[in-house]
């Protein structure tokens, strides 16, 4: 959920020791009006005299989540200390900082402080401890951007999406260089690296000095805007995954999304296809012609009149996948309808051949809370991700996916929205889901109170998810065939500063 940009206030304590070393004699200037006074120590940076504008926003989210179970199976574990229901009370703080120097140079920093589970909060816990769930900082984006005439360069840790957001929708380190075309069109070339730790560890010279085992992304995409109503995003992407030694995986993708909007409606259609190769990732066989036995090919040696079969040779796996998502929304008086369809290719049931399941980012546009990503706060347990096979960067959707979602929102009052969301999801290839095709049907009701132009929101959601066997096969921990309904509720108190 996007934040609103509000009043500009700088909170020095949040941003680290450098700023805390500000000289006691210097006083903070009024930020945002180009004052020559600086809060930074002299000589720290090469400060220009260009005007500076600082935008700072805080999103504070207090969440209460409750479900009657963590999976679709009421079976009791041998040791049921925690019982079946799951839930938490937590606070998340999401600060966004933007600094613009003149019109050309922009800095952006986004982080997330939390998840601050109330049950785990320990004020004595030091920040950054791996096992600490009391308070932690998660980097989101840190980048700088230079815009000169029609060119711009953006470098840093940032969120990157492909034209559809289905394939690449990740936070990665990247450099992006773009050229603005007439209108709001643009074309951008990008190069980035997925965060990764190989099994070689962190030693300099092994990981840092060797890109062979890293996961790299390059892309060329762009947006063409046709008037006010139509836009086309399309791009080509290439991922080079060298994280497995001698098993290089290369995936190319072509993505395209058509966006249209009118006064009270908008619609989009995105399609992405993938093609690539994973070296030595498929079942192989004897190297050379023929198989083992006396009639093996000439690559082998001879022993006492018998021909030795040649050694085993792993095969490459082809990678082919596709996905499509169509979304639309329309507002009719106080009623808003939002809906979408999504589909992803499935793999066959055999691991040792070409990979046909779509590699995706785990994020769809659906409004559901459980079947797709929770838009309020990504808890990471959405069913569509669980049905994928995660390899560290992408979810491989071996079951495939078909979904349809619909949300109906009514604004009876300026500060009140009530709504209902429903989604149905299914597997494309039931053989990858223990013969089940149906994954689930989710329905929820929501009430959203928003005050102060949305700066304060209270969201109440309650619903249920009727699972199908396709989801149970991936989600359940004890009985893979159980399909017990999940009931859930969520309350969020959101404040934006």
């Amino acid at each position: 959920m996007k934040t609103l940009t509000g009043t500009l206030v700088l909170v020095a304590a949040v941003f680290g020791p450098a700023l805390s070393e500000a000289s006691a004699q210097e006083t903070p200037s009024t930020i945002g009006n180009g004052s020559s006074a600086s809060v930074l120590p002299p000589g720290l940076v090469k400060k220009s005299s260009l005007p500076r504008q600082v935008d700072f926003t805080l999103e504070l989210a207090n969440l209460f989540v409750i479900r009657n179970d963590g999976d679709f199976d009421r079976s009791d574990p041998t040791y049921g200390k925690y019982g079946q229901p799951e839930g938490f009370l937590a606070t998340f703080l999401h600060p966004y900082l933007g600094v613009r120097l003149a019109e050309q140079l922009r800095f952006f920093y986004e982080t997330e402080i939390g998840m601050d589970l109330w049950s785990e909060k320990n004020p004595d816990v030091w920040l950054g401890l791996e096992d600490s769930r009391g308070l932690s900082i998660k980097q989101r984006e840190i980048w700088g951007e230079l815009t000169l005439n029609n060119w711009y360069v953006k470098a840093g840790f940032q969120r990157m999406l492909d034209s559809t957001g289905l394939f690449v929708n990740h936070w990665i380190g990247a450099v992006r260089a773009g050229y603005g075309l007439p209108g709001e069109s643009r074309i951008v070339a990008s190069f980035g690296q997925f965060p990764d730790q190989t099994h070689e560890g962190w030693t300099w010279g092994q990981t840092f000095g060797d890109f062979r085992t890293d996961v790299l992304l390059s892309a060329l995409d762009g947006t063409w805007v046709f008037g006010e109503m139509l836009a086309l995003d399309c791009g080509a992407y290439y991922v080079r995954d060298g994280s497995r030694v001698d098993m290089l995986r290369q995936v190319g993708a072509a993505a395209m999304a058509l966006r249209a909007r009118g006064g009270a409606w908008d619609a989009s259609l995105g399609v992405v296809t993938q093609f690539g190769r994973g070296e030595r990732s498929a079942e192989g066989g004897a190297a050379g012609a023929g198989a083992g036995g006396a009639d093996a090919g000439s690559a082998g040696g001879t022993t006492g009149g018998q021909v030795d079969p040649p050694p085993y040779d792993a095969s490459d796996a082809g990678i082919f996948g596709w996905a499509a998502e169509a979304r639309a929304s329309g507002r009719f008086s106080i009623v808003t309808l939002k809906g979408g369809l999504a589909a992803m290719s499935a793999d066959d049931a055999f691991e040792g051949n070409d990979a046909l399941g779509f590699l995706w980012s785990g994020k769809r546009g659906s409004r559901s809370l459980l079947l797709s990503e929770n838009e309020t706060r990504d808890i990471g347990d959405n069913v569509d991700e669980k049905m994928g096979t995660f390899d560290g960067w992408f979810y491989e959707m071996r079951t495939g996916l078909m979904s349809a979602d619909l949300g109906l929102y009514v604004d009876p009052l300026k500060w009140l929205t009530v709504g209902a969301v429903t989604e149905v999801m299914a597997a494309v290839n039931p053989d990858n889901a223990l013969g089940n095709r149906f994954a689930g049907w989710e329905s929820e009701l929501l009430v959203d109170l928003h005050l102060l132009e949305g700066a304060f929101q209270v969201q109440l959601v309650g619903g249920m998810l009727v699972p199908g066997g396709a989801a149970s096969a991936y989600v359940n921990a004890i009985d893979v065939d159980a399909t017990d309904t999940m009931f859930f509720g969520q309350t969020a108190v959101l404040m934006y500063f």
């Binding site: 046709f226 083992g292 079969p309 082919f320 049931a349 004890i478 893979v480």
Partner: protein, 829 residues
């Protein structure tokens, strides 16, 4: 902007990007909406599953992909010891002899090998008696059988099964046997009278119904080492107990002697002697009547000479005959060291030819020649993993030594008693001495009272003997003394002759007993040279022997160390081991009675690991594969065993396999016999070891049909499987690791996948797989999990864990769940 303009813009846009659209959608059109490719959803693996030849690399077997192969095999089979013709219930001497069809007819081979493979075995030890190849005479080979055996090996290869060729033998030969009564009419089961009754035929039909026999050597070999015997005699196979005159007093004396020795007085109040407790005919009367019938039968079943039968005892624990049978000792002695033990035997007739050489060369040459014929055919097949030169070579020649000493000491029993005491200590020596007497092993001179009867029977022979040497006893004082002396001398020489005693060199026998291993290694040298002449790459599997001293003082079979003959290049050490599961010493002894609890917590690890340090020291790093191990399936009686679902047998088998898994040793289970019956077991000596029963279904399979890593991409580290018979140390709140399988191996040395056999019986509801890294596929038809590890950094240990779905057990973090040919892929690492 109005709608028309919008549409025109859209059309214009489409025209510009249609090429891009087609390119983008082409994969969509090609891939489509993928559904299952084959019924059940699983494509057959692309990996070439064809069996590849094995090579030895230190203590490992490695296939041609460089994988470490674990041999999980089964002996095929128990019934191979007997020919197809004559049938088991026919006279064993009947011609023609053919073993074609053992273990199964060729047209059934696919069925049985399919079963064997489905049970998870990747290898068999193919039991081949020497007789099967060379029964027609020395150098005369049964070509039909050799063709059959080659076809069996080829069939095994089609089913990806390795074959170990084993020349099998027990008690030297099938022609050394004795009949017994399986339903004695005397005494309660287990009593001395009952055992006595086992020696006697049915009183009404005069039939025996049972036989204890050996297997292995052909008839011509037995004739060579027992030239003083007549295998064609009508009573061949009758108990040597019964043949002598004075039989009745012998039998009564035996009962009394055993009673005195053991205190067992089964039926002591049963004056009728038939176990009924009712007063009826006395034992003496019963025997009297039966013996009369036997004498009057046509042809007469009594009397007969010791030369008209052999001295095999109908022990249910048949192997005890290696201790107590002089005839069996003679034959082994001739085979291993005939040049020293029987130096005078140097001319033989066989197959219409005359052979002039010492008996050792005669027998071993024939043996080696037969092996060469087998190797000539088997050596062509890459699935032949070696040649197991002889089964359980017994190195105890106790009876040969005792009787030879007895004869040379002029029938002085005191010498024998002193010998046994000096050998085994006072207590054990005395027990053995008394046992020998009870069993009538030492041929006694007729008593003074019986001498007239004896001389009346053999009077003509006496005269003829005396005519050849009239000066015998010339120094006696008077005619009466001289006659008595001559008669005694005649009887002694007659007895000696009937035992072939003059053939035996005492020092040769003693040397054989003390240094049997030298002779065993010599045999291995001879045979391996013959084999390698036909199959230069042959791997020789050596079994240890047991020494006489070991057998006497309770040592473990196989304690004697070997060394490797120079002619052997690559070898495998292949011991056998069984715990104390055998029937007690006796005739018609029933199976042991055990409870599950007696075997539930017994560890076999110590015994199975026992030889390993000595093997390493003696041979260096060589593979060790247990060539035989197993259990009876009829404990507490077959009905009780079946009713309990073979619970005791399962516990014992589980103990074995847990130890093998800990030690990571190859093994060959005894046995797989399709002809098993409840009544006769595996047909040979009524042993009931077969893992399939009369209905051809597996028995106690949850104990032995286990997941295992049969080919590993890296050096094995550890493995285990918790079967239903594993005993857990329960932990509160944690589900037992029931049917959990674990396998680990070091950094991958090949790209070929690791193969894990996953039996359906252990995971009927599917199974979860945890992997340390990599990915896997599962062939649900052949039940093989193909694991492709991806990490190859040094020191990394790859791990595979399998667990079934289980009530109360939360399964998380898994990589795969397989069930009914379908797969759910979790997270890979």
């Amino acid at each position: 902007m109005n709608r028309c303009v919008l549409l025109r813009m859209a059309a214009s846009l489409f025209m510009r990007i249609r090429a891009v659209l087609v390119a983008a959608l082409l994969p969509v059109l090609l891939c489509g909406c993928v559904d299952s490719v084959t019924p059940g959803g699983i494509d057959p693996p692309a990996f070439d599953t064809k069996l590849s030849a094995l090579k030895i690399d230190r203590e490992y077997f490695r296939d041609e992909y460089g994988r470490y192969v674990l041999l999980n095999g089964v002996n095929v089979g128990g019934t191979n010891k007997l020919p197809v013709t004559p049938a088991p219930d026919e006279d064993p001497r009947k011609e023609p002899i053919s073993f074609v069809g053992r273990p199964f007819p060729l047209d059934e081979a696919d069925l049985w090998f399919d079963r064997i493979a489905k049970y998870g075995f990747n290898s068999i030890r193919l039991v081949i008696p020497w007789e099967a190849v060379e029964h027609g005479g020395r150098g005369i080979y049964d070509k039909e059988y050799l063709f059959y055996i080659e076809a069996i090996v080829a069939k095994a290869q089609e089913h990806d099964i390795y074959v170990l060729m084993n020349f099998h033998e027990n008690l030297f030969s099938r022609f050394l046997y004795t009949r017994f009564n399986r339903n004695p009419e005397l005494g309660e089961e287990g009593s001395i009278e009952n055992m006595l009754g086992a020696l006697l035929p049915d009183s009404k039909t005069l039939k025996y119904g049972g036989v204890i026999t050996g297997d292995g050597a052909p008839r011509w070999a037995v004739e060579a080492c027992l030239p003083h015997k007549n295998i064609d005699a009508p009573n061949w196979g009758s108990s040597h107990f019964l043949g002598n005159l004075g039989i009745l007093s012998n039998l009564i004396a035996v009962v009394n002697a055993v009673d005195k020795l053991t205190g067992l007085t089964g039926g002591e109040e049963d004056e009728g002697g038939d176990g009924s407790g009712e007063t009826g005919p006395s034992l003496e009367d019963f025997l009297q009547d039966l013996l009369k019938k036997m004498m009057k039968s046509d042809p007469p079943m009594l009397p007969y000479e010791i030369t008209e039968t052999c001295d095999v005892f109908p022990f249910t624990s048949w192997w005890d005959n290696t201790l107590f049978s002089y005839d069996i000792n003679r034959c082994y002695g001739a085979f291993f060291a005939g040049d020293a033990v029987m130096p005078s035997l140097n001319k033989f007739e066989s197959g219409g030819k005359t052979w002039e050489m010492d008996i050792k060369e005669y027998l071993q040459g024939g043996y080696a020649g037969a092996w060469a014929q087998v190797a000539k055919r088997a050596g062509k097949y890459p699935n032949v993993i070696g040649y197991d030169l002889i089964n359980e070579p017994p190195g105890g020649f106790l009876m040969l030594a005792i009787l030879t000493l007895y004869f040379q000491a002029d029938f002085d029993l005191g010498v024998i008693e002193d010998f046994l005491v000096s050998l085994a200590g006072t207590e054990t020596g005395q027990i053995v001495y008394q046992l020998l007497q009870v069993l009538n092993v030492l041929p006694l001179m007729p008593s003074k009272a019986d001498m007239p009867q004896y001389m009346a029977r053999y009077g003509t022979e006496f005269k003829a003997w005396l005519a050849e040497d009239p000066d015998v006893c010339a120094d006696e004082a008077d005619d009466a003394a001289k006659t008595e002396c001559q008669q005694v001398a005649f009887v002694k020489q007659r007895i000696r002759k009937s035992y072939g005693a003059d053939d035996i060199d005492l020092f040769g026998v003693l040397d054989l007993n003390l240094s049997f291993v030298v002779n065993l290694v010599e045999l291995y040298d001879v045979v391996s040279q013959a084999i390698r002449g036909e199959d230069p790459d042959a791997v020789i599997w050596l079994e240890p022997g047991s020494g006489a001293l070991d057998a006497l003082v309770g040592g473990t079979f196989g304690d004697v160390s070997l060394w490797k003959p120079e002619s052997i290049d690559e070898m495998v050490y292949t011991p056998h081991w069984y715990p104390d599961i055998y029937p007690f010493l006796g005739f018609n002894a029933g199976p042991r009675e055990f409870t599950v609890e007696e075997w539930a917590d017994v560890e076999f690890l110590t015994d199975l690991a026992g030889p390993l340090p000595a093997v390493l020291e003696t041979f260096g790093e060589v593979p060790v594969v247990y060539g035989e191990f197993g259990t009876y399936f009829n404990y507490n009686g077959i009905e009780n065993s079946v009713a309990s679902n073979y619970a005791v047998s399962a516990e014992i088998l589980n103990n074995y396999y847990e130890a093998f898994e800990t030690l990571n040793l190859g093994r060959m289970l005894w046995c797989f016999s399709k002809d098993n019956t409840h009544e006769n077991g595996d047909l040979w000596n009524y042993e009931d070891f077969s893992i399939i029963g009369p209905d051809h279904e597996p028995r106690a399979e949850l104990a032995w049909m286990r997941p295992y890593g049969r080919a590993l991409s890296g050096r094995p580290v550890a493995t285990y499987f918790n079967s239903d018979y594993h005993h857990y140390d329960p932990k509160k709140g944690e589900p037992d690791p029931w049917r959990e399988f674990y396998l680990s191996f070091e950094s991958k040395e090949t790209d070929a996948p690791t193969e894990v056999f996953v039996p359906d019986c252990q995971y009927p509801d599917g199974f979860y797989v945890w992997l340390s890294d990599g990915w896997a596929t599962f062939d649900s038809v052949n039940r093989i999990l193909y694991y492709h590890p991806t990490r190859d950094d040094p020191g990394h240990v790859h791990e595979v864990t399998l667990r079934p779905p289980m009530e109360g057990a939360q399964r998380t973090g898994w990589a795969y769940f397989f069930r009914d040919g379908q797969v759910v892929v979790g997270d890979r690492h």
